[in-house]
C-alpha cells in the first residue's frame, strides 16, 4: 500500500494541445488537420467520435509515435513535447501506457514474458512483486504460460492491460480496446481496470466510436470530429443535449439515466428501475447484468405526451411531469419534461400546437417498456 500511496502523490494531470497538418500522403483525407486542446485529471475520459475523426492520431501524438507540428504535451511537471522549446521526448522515455486496438501482444512470448517485457531492468525480486500484483488484479495467473494464440479475446485484453500497467505508466491510452468483446467480459475487465486505477490514479484516455462504450467507460467524454473537439462533459451532458447534429447522430439516445434496479420480474421479462435516487421508476426489459446499477437510454422520439392522464394503454410507463422548456429546431420541437428527472421529448410542431403545449403545463409521458434500452453496466 505504501507503493500506491507514493504513486498517488506523483500523479498529475495530462495536458494536451496539438496541431498537426496531414499531408496527402497519409491515410487521412487531403487537408485534414488536427487541432485539439484538453486537460485530463486522473480517472477515465472517453475520446468519442466517428472513424477518421483523428482519435488515434491524438493518442499517437501523446505517446510520441507521431509528431505534432505544434503544441504541448505534458504530464504534471514532465514536459513530453513542446514545439517552442524544441522538446520531443522519445516514446520509450515517456512512461505513457498504450493499449493498441490490435493489442500488439508479442506472439512469440507467453503471457509472463509479455508482461515482464517492460520491467526487465528492475531487480528480479521487484519484478516478481510487480508481476504478481498486476497478475492478481487482472485474474490471469492461470494463463501465464500461454502464448497469445492460445488465449481467448478477453484473456488477451487482460494480458495487454497488465503489460501496460506493470510499468506504472503516468498516463494510460486505450485505443478502442473493448470493441471486440461481449458486454459481460467487457464490463468485468473495466471493473478490474477501474479498481486498479482507484489505487494508482492516473489519467486514462480511452478512444471509441461506439456509443455504448461511452456510457460503459466514461465519467467524462470529449467529442471529436474532423480533428476538433466539439464538446466536453459527462456523457449525459454532452450526448443528451446534442448541441451538435453529429453528436446527436452518434448518440441516438437523448435521455440517459443512471438507474438502480429495485426488482426484476422474470415471468414478465421486465425489471423495475429507479432513476438516480429519485422516486421515479421505469419498467425496462429484463437484461443480463453484473450489478444493480444500470444505465437506461430512451430516445426522445419514442416518448408520447398526453395532456390528460391516459388510460387503457399497453405501455407500462406513464410518468406525470411538467414542461420546463420548449425549443423548436427545424421540423422538431424539443420539449423538456420535468418529473423529478429531466426528459427530452421530440414531437412535431403540429402535435405541439394541437396539445397547446406551453411551459409549466402538466403532461403525462408514455414510454413503452421496449423503448427503454439498458445500455451497459456502469
Amino acid at each position: 500500500m505504501a507503493v500506491s500511496a507514493l504513486a498517488k502523490s506523483e500523479t498529475a494531470t495530462l495536458t494536451v494541445a496539438l496541431r498537426k497538418q496531414f499531408a496527402g500522403a497519409s491515410t487521412a483525407p487531403p487537408g485534414f488537420s488536427l487541432d485539439v486542446q484538453f486537460t485530463l485529471t486522473p480517472g477515465f475520459t472517453v475520446l468519442f467520435g466517428p472513424s477518421g475523426a483523428g482519435k488515434t492520431s491524438v493518442l499517437n501524438c501523446i505517446a510520441g509515435l507521431q509528431d505534432p507540428d505544434a503544441g504541448l504535451v505534458s504530464i504534471g511537471e514532465a514536459v513530453l513535447f513542446d514545439a517552442q522549446a524544441n522538446i520531443n521526448v522519445p516514446t520509450r522515455d515517456r512512461h505513457v501506457g498504450y493499449l493498441f486496438q490490435t493489442l500488439a501482444l508479442f506472439p512469440h512470448m507467453n503471457a509472463r514474458q509479455n508482461i515482464e517485457y517492460g520491467i526487465n531492468t528492475l531487480p528480479p525480486q521487484e519484478r516478481d512483486t510487480r508481476t504478481q500484483e498486476v497478475v492478481q488484479s487482472f485474474g490471469i495467473m492461470h494463463i501465464l504460460d500461454r502464448r497469445p494464440s492460445q488465449m481467448s479475446g478477453g484473456e488477451r485484453q487482460r494480458v495487454a492491460l497488465a503489460r501496460a500497467l506493470v510499468t506504472r505508466p503516468k498516463a494510460l491510452l486505450l485505443d478502442e480496446p473493448l470493441t471486440a468483446l461481449d458486454a459481460i467480459t467487457r464490463s468485468r475487465i473495466l471493473d478490474d481496470l477501474r479498481r486498479w486505477n482507484a489505487c494508482h490514479a492516473v489519467p486514462v484516455l480511452c478512444v471509441t466510436h461506439e456509443l455504448e462504450e461511452v456510457y460503459a467507460l466514461g465519467s467524462l467524454v470529449l467529442v471529436i470530429e474532423a480533428g476538433r473537439i466539439l464538446a466536453e462533459g459527462t456523457p449525459q451532458e454532452v450526448l443528451s443535449r446534442a448541441r451538435f447534429e453529429s453528436i446527436a447522430q452518434l448518440a441516438g439516445f437523448e435521455n440517459i439515466f443512471e438507474c438502480q434496479v429495485v426488482s426484476s420480474h422474470e415471468e414478465h421479462g421486465t425489471m423495475t428501475c429507479r432513476i438516480g435516487n429519485s422516486e421515479t421508476a421505469l419498467e425496462v426489459p429484463l437484461t443480463r447484468r453484473s450489478s444493480d446499477r444500470v444505465r437506461v437510454g430512451v430516445r426522445a422520439g419514442d416518448i408520447l405526451l398526453a395532456t390528460e392522464m391516459p388510460v387503457g394503454l399497453s405501455a407500462r410507463n406513464v410518468l406525470k411531469g411538467t414542461i420546463s422548456s420548449l425549443d423548436r429546431r427545424d421540423v422538431t420541437v424539443v420539449a423538456v419534461v420535468d418529473c423529478g428527472q429531466q426528459f427530452a421529448v421530440h414531437l412535431t410542431p403540429s402535435a405541439c400546437e394541437a396539445l397547446a403545449l406551453e411551459r409549466g403545463k402538466p403532461v403525462w409521458m408514455v414510454i413503452k417498456t421496449y423503448s427503454c434500452r439498458v445500455l451497459e453496466q456502469p
Binding site: 505517446a63 510520441g64 509515435l65 522519445p90 516514446t91 520509450r92 522515455d93 515517456r94 512512461h95 505513457v96 501506457g97 498504450y98 493498441f100 490490435t102 500488439a104 508479442f106 506472439p107 512469440h108 517485457y117 517492460g118 531492468t121 502464448r147 497469445p148 494464440s149 503489460r163 501496460a164 510499468t167
Partner: protein, 225 residues
Amino acid sequence: MILQALALTLRLAVVVALILIVIALPLGYWLAMSRSRWKFLVESVVALPIVLPPTVLGFYVLTAIGPLSPIGRWYHVLTGGSLAFTFRGLVIGSVLYSLPFAVQPIAAAFSSVDRTLLQASATLGASSWRSFWKIILPLGIPGVFTGLVLSFAHTLGEFGVVLMIGGNIPGATQTASILIYDQVQALNYAVANQTAFLLLVSCFVLLAVLFGLRRHTKWSLWEWQ
C-alpha cells in the same frame, strides 16, 4: 583432388554464409526500417550481383584487390600477402556476389514484422536495440534462415567470380565447380562426373537436413505461426 576441392568449396560456403549473416542483419534492418529517400539507391546496389554477369563482378573485384590497387597494396603492407588468387580473395568476391541472397529475405522478413509490435515495444520503454533482439529478430528468424541457406547454396554453385578472382590453384582456390570445368577441358570425364555427383549429393543432403530441421516442431523457433 576431388575431396580437397569439395572441402574447399564447403569451407568457402560456410565462411561466406556466416560473414553474410553478420553483414545482412544490420543491412536488412536498415532496408526494412529506414525512411531515407536514398534507400532505393542502396537497394539497387544490393541487388546488382543478381543481374551482373559474374565475370563483370569478378573483373572489378580482381581489379580492386589486385596487387596494384590501393586495397591490394594496403593489404600487402599489413600482412605481406596478396588477396588476388587466394582463399581470402575468394571470400571477398563471394560475399559480394551472394550479398543479395542473404539481404533480401532478411529485409523482407524484417519489414513484415507488424509495426504495432515495435510501437508497443517502445511504449514499454524498450530501445531500438532491444526491440531488434527481442521482437524483430525472433519474428524474422524464418527470413534469416532462408538468407543463410540461400547464400550458402549460392556460394557453393558459383563459378565465374571464383574463376576471375581465384584462378585455379588446387587447395587454395580450386572449388568443385572449377575442378569440374578443369577436368572437362582435359577430357577427364570420369573425375568431372564424380565431382559433380558428390557436389550434387552433398548439397541435397545439407539442404534436406536444414529444411527437415525447420519442419521439426520441437526444434522450430517459430511454432506460434
